[in-house]
């Protein structure tokens, strides 16, 4: 891990707010406009000072129009520009929008499907299901999908998101209701997405790519809140679920690349100076800011269509293996964790930047499906490292008051990919996971080693922090029985 640069906080700079929340006061650095906050247990703090996460967090507080404070979730790790696990909100009237603080994988996100099958009933057929899944869902670096879209068709995807997939016969009408923003940001404008971005995404719809993206089949391992679990259709221990994690593929990466460059060029015009070029930004109300916001929305729509197609592929694999024995897997919810959203807090209109953080709206919120609004609130899915566990949480009122309606997004890396590959062999890891009863399918053994569990924090400690801090509530724990990676 790299050394902390000048202007990085140390443990003595933290002020304790409560057992799970810490603050770096505004006075810590003269360029801070607001304080910085950290959701973490005392035990986790030492780890946070081992990389540049908190220096990157402080840098976020220097951006124009930043509202109230910037903060990081307990799964935070060093990113580039903004830390991964970072959240901040910028006022619409005098604030900026920053592509690097939303991330290269625009609308990377997670969707959970539930089934009516029980582990004991299908245990023996899981390896076959994994084979079928590996055949149905294209994966791997640079791997194209079954569709190669013309620019006109692609523009339809960028405008309509998940709705495009439904119109083409991939998925059911009810599915869009269970996606954040109904799987479509209406401000999307394909004309602000470059030819480069379109060319990169043209054949990638319905593919998971590589890195930490996956499709996983799991069993409900423990239910912490019976009523909320029931509201999400998760009824008993042993019930099977399927989790999909991926984003906007090359198209989203190129949108971020294009607009970071554009904003670097525009910053002198708006007299914005930043600590790190990767935080390049423009006023939200500037032509550059608006163009990016609409291009980012188009890339987000591509990601929703992508996860919709992958869900369709998962359903095809399910049907092939289980036939009519069980109904098709149903969508519980789809939540983004790299996105910029127009929201309102304390009567102030803001753009919330969530980079490696999930929106987590509470019961009663008008932007979540009606049945969840009346019962449990918005579900949030926290995938753990491969072979450990994933959690289902729900949003609570407190997050609206103090965390811009947000929660964490994963376990959070602690070890570099290069080091993980030095320590772990992919084939040995596969063998160990298989012994634990987890079927693994991966096109790349090196890619598998990079994602070894030892490279991540313990997901349980991460989830316990947001639960104990009162910004989300634990509902269900899921254990993997099959993992497919690129």
């Amino acid at each position: 891990m790299s050394q902390a640069p000048y202007g990085a906080p140390t443990k003595k700079d933290l002020v304790k707010i409560h057992d799970y929340l810490w603050e770096i006061p505004k006075l810590f650095r003269s360029d801070m406009r607001v304080p910085a906050r950290i959701y973490a247990s005392e035990k986790m703090l030492d780890l946070l000072f081992k990389d540049r996460s908190l220096w990157q967090l402080v840098n976020l507080t220097t951006l124009p129009g930043v509202h109230k404070y910037a903060f990081v979730m307990p799964d935070v790790h060093e990113g580039y520009g903004a830390p991964v696990g970072g959240v901040f909100a910028n006022r619409l009237d005098d604030g900026i929008i920053s592509p690097g603080s939303i991330g290269y994988d625009v609308n990377c996100g997670v969707r959970l499907l539930r089934t009516k099958a029980r582990y004991g009933e299908i245990k023996d057929r899981i390896p076959r299901f994994m084979d079928e899944l590996f055949r149905e869902v294209p994966s791997g670096v640079g791997q194209g999908g079954r569709l190669k879209l013309s620019t006109k068709e692609l523009d339809g995807v960028l405008e309509k998101g998940a709705r495009w997939a439904i119109e083409k016969g991939f998925g059911l009408e009810r599915d869009v209701v269970y996606c954040e923003s109904n799987g479509r940001l209406e401000n999307a404008d394909p004309s602000f997405v470059s030819e480069h971005a379109k060319n990169r995404g043209r054949d990638q719809l319905g593919t998971i790519g590589a890195g930490n993206h996956f499709v996983e089949i799991q069993r409900v391992d423990e239910i912490f809140d019976q009523d909320d679990a029931k509201a999400l259709g998760l009824f008993v221990v042993g019930q099977m679920t399927i989790l999909i994690h991926c984003g906007s593929r090359g198209l989203g990466h190129q949108v971020a690349t294009d607009y970071i460059k554009l904003m670097m060029q525009a910053m002198p015009k708006y007299k914005i100076s930043i600590v790190d070029r990767e935080l390049a930004c423009a006023p939200f109300n500037s032509p550059e800011g608006k163009k990016y916001f609409n291009a980012m929305a188009a890339a987000a729509n591509f990601a929703w269509a992508n996860r919709h197609l992958i869900m369709h592929e998962v359903r095809q694999a399910w049907k092939t293996v289980f036939g009519e024995q069980y109904t098709s897997p149903e969508l519980v919810y789809d939540a983004a964790h790299n996105i910029g959203k127009f929201e309102e807090y304390d009567g102030v209109k803001v753009i919330v930047h969530r980079k490696g953080a999930t929106r987590a709206f509470p019961p009663g919120h008008s932007e979540i499906p009606e049945d969840y609004s009346k019962s449990c609130g918005q579900p949030v899915f926290i995938p753990g490292s491969m072979g450990t566990a994933s959690y289902v949480l729900v949003g609570v009122e407190q997050t609206m008051k103090e965390a811009f309606g947000s929660s964490c997004h994963g376990a959070g890396r602690v070890m570099s990919r290069t080091k993980a590959k030095q320590i772990v062999r992919g084939d040995t890891l596969k063998e160990q996971l298989e012994k634990q009863g987890i079927s693994v399918r991966s096109g790349s053994m090196a890619g598998l080693a990079e994602e070894a569990p030892l490279a991540y924090k313990d997901v349980e400690t991460v989830v316990d922090v947001v639960h104990n801090a009162g910004i989300a509530k634990k509902v269900v724990r899921l254990k993997p029985v099959g993992v497919m990676k690129g």
């Binding site: 891990m1 790299s2 990389d51 790790h77 060093e78 990113g79 580039y80 520009g81 991964v84 690097g100 290269y104 994988d105 791997g140 670096v141 640079g142 791997q143 480069h196 060319n199 990169r200 790519g209 590589a210 890195g211 090359g250 990466h253 190129q254 971020a256 690349t257 970071i260 460059k261 670097m264 060029q265 790190d276 070029r277 990767e278 390049a280 890396r413 602690v414 070890m415 570099s416 990919r417 290069t418 080091k419 096109g443 790349s444 090196a446 890619g447 690129g486």
Partner: protein, 137 residues
């Protein structure tokens, strides 16, 4: 004085750092391209694939990042890995030239983008140009 390695892959919590050196700016750019190729798909030889490239940027560091991002784009779209470049013209903020490499059936690593994070081309005390780049994986 020992000549430094043209490039070296360093760790980063989630992504990847590449340290690059060169006697000249041109060599620095070529070595960075070679370093990136060694991440995407190690061991590629051959120059059968040629692609024209033209970049304009704000400064020399941005020119390097933009150059690599353009190579990454071409690599993704054409399923090729570029291991070298020749430059017809190169200033501190513009370049024109040709990438050369070979087609591949698959890549080993998915670089989402080359970032500007903490990138700053500098001349060290031995007169070499050096830069550390962070790749988003």
């Amino acid at each position: 004085m020992n000549q430094p390695a043209p490039f070296e892959i360093l760790g980063h919590t989630a992504d990847l750092r590449l340290y690059v050196t060169g006697h000249t700016l041109e060599e620095l750019f070529r070595n960075a391209l070679k370093g990136m190729a060694s991440v995407i798909k190690p061991g590629i030889e051959g120059k059968s694939s040629k692609r024209e490239i033209e970049i304009h940027s704000e400064d020399t560091t941005a020119l390097l990042v933009d150059f690599l991002n353009e190579a990454l784009y071409l690599s993704n779209v054409h399923k090729e890995v570029y291991t070298d470049a020749s430059f017809r013209s190169m200033s501190e903020v513009t370049l024109e030239g040709e990438l050369s490499g070979a087609p591949v059936s698959e890549f080993d690593e998915d670089i989402k983008a080359v970032t500007y994070h903490e990138a700053e081309i500098a001349q060290n005390t031995d007169g070499y140009y050096e830069v550390t780049l962070v790749f988003d994986i």
